[in-house]
Amino acid sequence: MNSGKTPGLYIHIPFCLSKCHYCDFYSSTSISAVPDFLKALVKEMKMYRNMFDVFDTLYIGGGTPSLLTPSQLEDILTSVQKNFDFTSEPEISIETNPADLDRPLLESTREMGINRINIGVQSFDEKVLGLLGRRHSAKQAILAIEASRKAGFQNIGLDLIYGVPGQDVNSWLDTLRQAVAFSPEHLSCYQLTLGAKTPLGVRYQAGEFLMPGEELQYEFFIKTSEFLEDAGYIHYEVSNFAKGTKYVSRHNQKYWDHSPYLGLGPSAHSFQPDRRWWNHRSLDQYLAAIKAENLPVEETETLTMEQLRLEALYLGLRTKKGVSLYDFKNRYHYDLFAEKKEMIDRLQEEGLISIQDGRLYPTQTGLAVADSLALI
């Protein structure tokens, strides 16, 4: 089924040299399995040939894609080009760890056509980096950003984390100040959330430290938004900021507006209207499935109209542009404005949402309660 939207391609590199203490994503530290994985990945690409339209984004995430060698990365990109069609100017992003960003890697990634680099800085505060279990220093992050610029990257994104135990708003603003000094085109600022099984999550449950309360969380959130907007960034999604609409992540946008996307590699998720499926989380299961010539899919779900509606609302209201009332009615057969008028009026009065040009969108304070907005 064709949604009329251009699909995106995601590749999950499920390896890390060490696991960060907060991380909930799937990755393995058995680096020796990389060659097997890369072979399987190519086979998986072949399985999906001709199933999607022409892509206009590629996102290599993980895990830590930057621990691959330049030639391994190159092989991936070559296979991608062999198996899938792309528009003329695709957005090609890679997630990286500052410790890996030496000159040869940066220069070869540029040459391969990767035009957007995401650097996992997380913080410029050594104490915070230690608590999070990052394997790089603040100094390494600074060098990595500078080196990326030097290598010719014109679209640099920095990933940062706030709301870390013991962190106050001022020390967080310090990190932000240092980040902005490099004029990155994109910033992702994530509030720390602790999965129960992560090392930090376990320590938290054991009562070793407190997490910020709701008021403090709100302060972090609003201060971040205000600071970055003052610095010329658009707060275009709950956790994402861009220096102008040109630098809004084209790939992530697909997750939020029901565009199709194909995810390859362990634990990767895919969507093709109106079906979602996701791969086995474990590398072993993934490899075994591919070896048996099977799709490494763990589960598939077909969405009902009601589920699509809920998704569209919760994802749309996480973004600054919100949802188009007209499109909502057409695509999801639901007149939001008519059905929820009383609530919408109320939330407008409270300054949590606005309606303009037929779009319902959250205000800055509304973004902070976006989860509840989705349940109106």
Partner: protein
């Protein structure tokens, strides 16, 4: 007929009635040992889960007595809570005798006495049975002493048993045969059968449970229900074994069931007399109390589109609960619903739970109320059980509220705290009597409204569970009453309005506001909760909004995980009622009447 015995077991809660019934069924060979658990206990488990016996049940036990004769012992089970004394009375009227079961450790309790009185009113043979004699804490001598002094029964008439251990069961069966008289009646006379229970069978319509006093009823007969003169053709009659067992006829002295394609379930009323259309009896069977609901509340579906389903559910429900009455009602805040009458707050909660569980409906009950009497300045008199119909205050000449006589039994050491509680509840004309060493009976006259307002919970709490409580409605007494409204974000929620005694208006309104604050989850905006008399605000609380709830990250392309979480929350929200954009949980409506147990 001389080989039939109709009997019932009456007991205070937890004195072992169900266990004894199980034992009697087992020992008379209705079920063999192997099947016993599966067939009986499972069935009983449902009622145990609900905490009390709600429905009457009947079963015919075949018994080969020591005199060599074969008997049929009809055991008619009775509900086990004070709220259901009306249903108990009807079951008892179908019997000639009762086993009065008393826990050997706990001794005589309030309900033991209440049940005994009911049995006496029906002139039944009473066999006291002391149960749980196997317990280490059993004190048979003390119970025997109570049988004499508190119950006024022959202290030598008792039997001892342990239903759990199967001790003394044979002796009970023999006593039923020897001491309970056989039924009297004329099988050839005009039919007079008493309805003591009725159930709805989705395939066959109404199953009428009855005791035939005179005459005979058989297939093809045209029967007449005497209360409303409705007539039906009998399709099947039979007896209760473990399942229904079809027979040609049932006659005077017997207990059984009738199918007569009674489709309009409300046509059957427990306590009604069945006779034959072409040969009616002179007058209905006597001995039944007119049942009156004392607590009123409105039931609304949370989703307005469930209204029709609710109507069907209540109609079906009523068939199994003669004490439940209802009529159409509507609320500004909650839409179309039904005004319902209950025997008490517990009865109300059982109805709520059963309607929700058995008919899969989400419902809201408005704040319960008693029935007040207002004399207006023009001399007319109005009964008001729904705060929404409170008369215009300027037109009221006199307000009156129903009073009860509460009978409270407790160990003497709790006397002080209980008296204090009763004073707080406007109790008056107290009487104190000593029942035995360390045991007292306290009676108070107090407004019924005070009893439905958290009295029972607090009484149980201050007596640490050792107190028991029963009441009877007395009369109406003059009182200063006001209507307290509750406003949520400035919008009056009529289902939360209460009629209260003026001196208690402020504390009551404040309590309601505070309880609502605990029950209503924080939302995206501030919620003001106010209590008001007319235009005057007398209490107020606010629920502050939450300001941050968004999770940082949608996990890559994993949209499903978060959606599932939201779906779950959405489902929870569907069980709340949205009034003026504020989501109010179901629990809030009854909570305003209850004490916060944390306090």
């Amino acid at each position: 007929m001389k080989n039939i015995r109709n009997f019932s077991i009456i007991a205070h809660i937890d004195h072992g009635k169900s266990t004894l019934a199980d034992r009697l069924i087992q020992i008379t060979g209705m079920v063999d040992e192997r099947n016993f658990k599966d067939q009986i206990l499972d069935n009983m488990d449902i009622e145990r889960e609900r905490g009390i016996t709600i429905k009457s049940q009947a079963i015919a036990l075949p018994y080969h007595a020591r005199d060599g004769e074969e008997y049929v012992l009809n055991l008619i089970d009775t509900p086990g809570h004070v709220d259901f004394s009306y249903e108990v009375s009807r079951s008892l009227a179908s019997c000639e005798g009762v086993l009065l079961l008393i826990d050997a450790a706990q001794g005589v309790q309030a309900q033991t006495i209440a049940n005994l009185y009911l049995a006496m009113e029906n002139n039944l043979e009473i066999i006291p049975v002391i149960n749980k004699i196997d317990l280490a804490t059993a004190d048979v001598e003390r119970v025997v002493e109570q049988i004499d002094s508190e119950l006024g029964l022959d202290p030598f008439s008792y039997l001892k048993c342990s239903a759990k251990e199967g001790i003394g069961i044979e002796e009970i069966l023999e006593a039923i045969v020897k001491r309970i008289p056989p039924p009297k009646g004329d099988p050839e006379g005009p039919l007079a059968a008493l309805i003591f229970d009725a159930q709805y069978d989705s395939f066959r319509g109404t199953v009428i449970h009855c005791r035939v006093f005179d005459g005979t009823v058989k297939n093809g007969d045209i029967i007449r229900l005497m209360s409303n003169q409705a007539t039906y053709k009998v399709e099947e009659v039979g007896r209760f074994l473990l399942a229904r067992a079809k027979r040609d006829k049932i006659s005077a002295g017997e207990v059984g069931y009738i199918f007569a394609s009674v489709k309009t379930v409300s046509d059957v009323h427990i306590g009604d007399t069945i006779t034959l259309d072409d040969r009616p009896c002179d007058k209905p069977l006597p001995g039944f109390k007119e049942f009156k609901p004392v607590v009123f509340s409105s039931i609304y579906p949370i989703a307005p589109e469930d209204y029709e389903d609710l109507a069907v559910a209540l109609e079906k429900y009523m068939l199994n609960d003669a004490a439940f009455v209802y009529q159409k009602d509507s609320s500004v805040a909650l839409g179309q619903g039904f005004r319902c009458g209950f025997l008490g707050l517990l009865h109300l909660e059982i109805v709520q739970e059963r309607v929700e569980r058995e008919y899969d409906l989400s419902i809201i009950l408005s704040v319960p109320s008693v029935r007040y009497r207002f004399t207006l300045k023009d001399g007319s008199v109005e009964f008001v059980d729904n705060p929404a119909h409170y008369p215009d205050p300027v037109s009221i000449d006199k307000g009156e509220e129903p009073y009860i006589r509460a009978t409270l039994l407790m160990p003497e050491r709790y006397l002080g705290v209980v008296m204090k509680l009763c004073m707080e509840k406007r109790g008056e004309n107290s009487k104190l009597s000593y029942l035995g060493p360390g045991r007292v009976e306290l009676t108070y006259e107090m407004p019924l409204a005070e009893v439905i307002y958290d009295f029972y919970d607090r009484f149980k709490s201050v007596t640490q569970g050792y107190g028991s409580f029963d009441y009877e409605v007395l009369d109406y007494r003059e009182s200063t009453l006001v209507l307290v409204d509750i406003l949520v974000n400035g919008e009056k929620v009529d289902a939360l309005s209460q009629i209260v005694y003026r001196d208690q208006a402020r504390p009551r309104a404040l309590r309601a506001c505070e309880r609502l604050k605990e029950e209503i989850p924080r939302q995206m905006f501030k919620i003001a909760i106010q209590g008001a008399i007319g235009g005057e605000i007398i209490a107020r609380t606010t629920i502050s909004p939450f300001r941050k709830d968004v999770t940082a990250k949608c996990y890559g392309g994993d949209i499903t995980r978060k959606r599932k979480l939201l779906e779950k929350q959405k489902k929870g929200k569907k069980r709340m009622k949205t009034i003026g954009s504020v989501s109010i949980p179901q629990s809030a409506f009854l909570a305003v009447l209850k004490t916060n147990t944390d306090n």
